[in-house]
């Protein structure tokens, strides 16, 4: 059975009628919809087991703690981390990248260099700008080539003995470019730089394996992978996590506290101050279980087919420009496009009138927009529940757009 046929019935929201049409949801890149399994796991947790974790010595406290820590095991398995101590829960990708930037930031010296790429989401740029400003560090960006892939030769020229961090996206949330993580990690390591990978658009859509990628940090959000909002994952390689002081303080992350000092807790709790997102962790476990049951390779193949169909279809419509690497190159489940003479916001509003949800705007990647020479783009992104028929609907609607405004 095709993946969308198998999964559609699991997503209650797909019953929605929007502007008189059944909802076609092509905005999972911004936030995916949730299967019933996730919604029910979270309500069941709240109805039966909720209490705070790691501090309440009573039945519910123990159940909540166990459920919360089970999520860590699920993530460890899902991303192929060596140990559960390497899995730190955050509030999301932005929060994780901020935490990493603050943590590494404390050790930066004047003149140290942070290398990013032109593909980055603002979440992987602004936290570095903030610490660079505080510490007198310098940010440099590896450019992209005309086809939307990274210019690795240019990246090489940016890597020097002063490079402390190489922070880059695994999959571009605009162009769909898949960056060669293993290759970049190897280059970064040759100058002893720490590697930070933004996996927000990768983890939901393909098999990611930390032992194969070899990066020092990898972050992603649950809400883009069928899970709830409010929780994300910061994977940190054990020796690297061990080498850093905690970036943020509070309860949970300490062992013993005096007025003027404290002894840090063990990993991973050392990086999890305060009450964590417990119900969200339960939801994340369910989302991972759901994806694993489908199989990430099958998910990737399904979404690749939708991406290909969309790119080929859009490219055949006069006046439509498709951005990003050619089909022959590996691409994520993202298609950004422009319709001649129409502003991206108007494209999105006109498609919404036909029940089709796409995103429009700068996609939190203004430097990339500037590089492409546009204010913004329209963008369709895919998930397990999307069907080839929905893609056909999108193509028909886009073909009629220019006449409609």
């Amino acid at each position: 059975m095709k993946l969308d046929e198998q999964t559609r019935g699991d997503f209650p929201i797909l019953q929605r009628i929007v502007s008189g049409h059944p909802l076609v949801y092509f905005d999972s890149g911004a936030s995916s919809q949730k299967p019933r399994a996730v919604i029910e796991a979270m309500s069941e947790y709240y109805e039966r087991s909720h209490a705070n974790v790691h501090r309440s010595i009573h039945t519910l406290g123990e159940e909540a703690t166990e459920l919360y820590e089970l999520a860590r095991d699920a993530v460890q398995r899902f991303i192929g981390a060596t140990s559960r101590e390497e899995v730190v829960f955050t509030r999301g990708t932005t929060d994780g990248l901020g935490l990493i930037a603050e943590t590494i930031g404390r050790t930066l010296k004047r003149g140290d260099e942070i290398v990013v790429t032109e593909l980055e989401h603002h979440s992987n740029l602004i936290p570095w700008q903030l610490v660079a400003r505080d510490r007198g560090a310098v940010i440099k960006a590896a450019p992209i080539l005309a086809d939307g892939t990274l210019d690795l030769a240019a990246l090489d020229r940016l890597l020097t003995a002063r490079t402390r961090v190489v922070a880059f996206t695994h999959v571009s949330n605009v162009l769909g470019t898949v960056t060669p993580v293993v290759d970049i990690v190897r280059r970064a390591r040759s100058v002893n730089a720490i590697t930070v990978v933004d996996g927000a658009q990768a983890a939901p859509h393909m098999r990611v394996d930390m032992s194969a990628l070899g990066c020092d940090f990898y972050v992603f959000s649950a809400h883009k992978m069928l899970g709830p909002t409010g929780i994300g994952v910061m994977y940190g390689r054990r020796p690297v996590l061990d080498s850093f002081e905690p970036g943020r303080g509070g309860s949970e992350m300490i062992k013993e506290v005096w007025i003027d000092r404290a002894q840090w807790n063990d990993l991973p709790w050392r990086f999890e101050p305060g009450t964590p997102p417990i119900a969200e962790a339960v939801g994340l476990t369910a989302a991972i279980g759901y994806l694993e049951k489908l199989g990430m390779d099958r998910v990737a193949a399904h979404e690749r087919a939708l991406t290909r169909r969309t790119i080929e279809g859009l490219a055949a419509i006069p006046g439509v420009t498709v951005y990003g690497p050619p089909l022959a190159v590996d691409r994520g489940a993202v298609v950004a496009f422009a319709v001649d003479g129409l502003h991206p916001h108007d494209v999105a509003a006109l498609l919404d009138a036909e029940g089709i949800a796409v995103r429009a705007g700068h996609h939190c990647a203004m430097p990339l927009m500037r590089r492409l020479g546009v204010v913004g783009t329209s963008r369709a992104t895919f998930s397990v529940f999307n069907s080839p028929e929905e893609v056909s609907q999108l193509l028909t609607a886009v073909a009629g757009l220019r006449a409609s405004l």
Binding site: S19, H345, A349, S404
Partner: protein, 132 residues
């Protein structure tokens, strides 16, 4: 699109379509002496408004340029028309309601910033925005 056209029609009124296709006040204004520009951080839209203000304070001409959606473009076009020939203080008193009354569209809250951006730029221009 035909069977769905009623829905976008409510958002994209005839006035908006007409002003988007054929703006009446778009383009440079050489000799403008009150100029301002601003960006909508949500979408990156940019509008630049140029006014020629006479010594006595009457706005002799107003034009705009920018990268903007149909709603924002129509709003800027209407605004330029509304302030032309008015005194500075009358122009400063133009409100979003005045623009909406001309646009005759059902603007959703998410798109209201598209309507108000040109008004923000006008306020800047009247409060001493100068030069090119």
């Amino acid at each position: 699109m035909s069977q769905a056209s009623s829905a976008p029609n409510r958002l994209y009124s005839d006035v908006i379509r007409e002003r988007w296709r054929r703006p009446r006040h778009r383009g440079d204004l050489p000799g403008a002496n009150a100029v301002a520009e601003d960006v909508n951080p949500l979408c990156g839209d940019r509008v630049r408004l140029m006014l020629t203000v006479e010594p006595q304070g009457r706005i002799a001409a107003a034009r705009f340029v920018g990268d903007s959606c149909a709603i924002c473009t129509a709003s800027a076009d209407v605004l330029a028309e509304l302030v032309s020939g008015r005194s500075r203080s009358d122009a400063a008193a133009v409100e979003v309601g005045d623009v909406l009354a001309v646009l005759q569209a059902e603007i959703r809250p998410t798109r209201m910033r598209c309507v108000t951006l040109p008004l923000t730029v006008l306020a800047k221009a009247l409060n001493g925005g100068r030069g090119a």
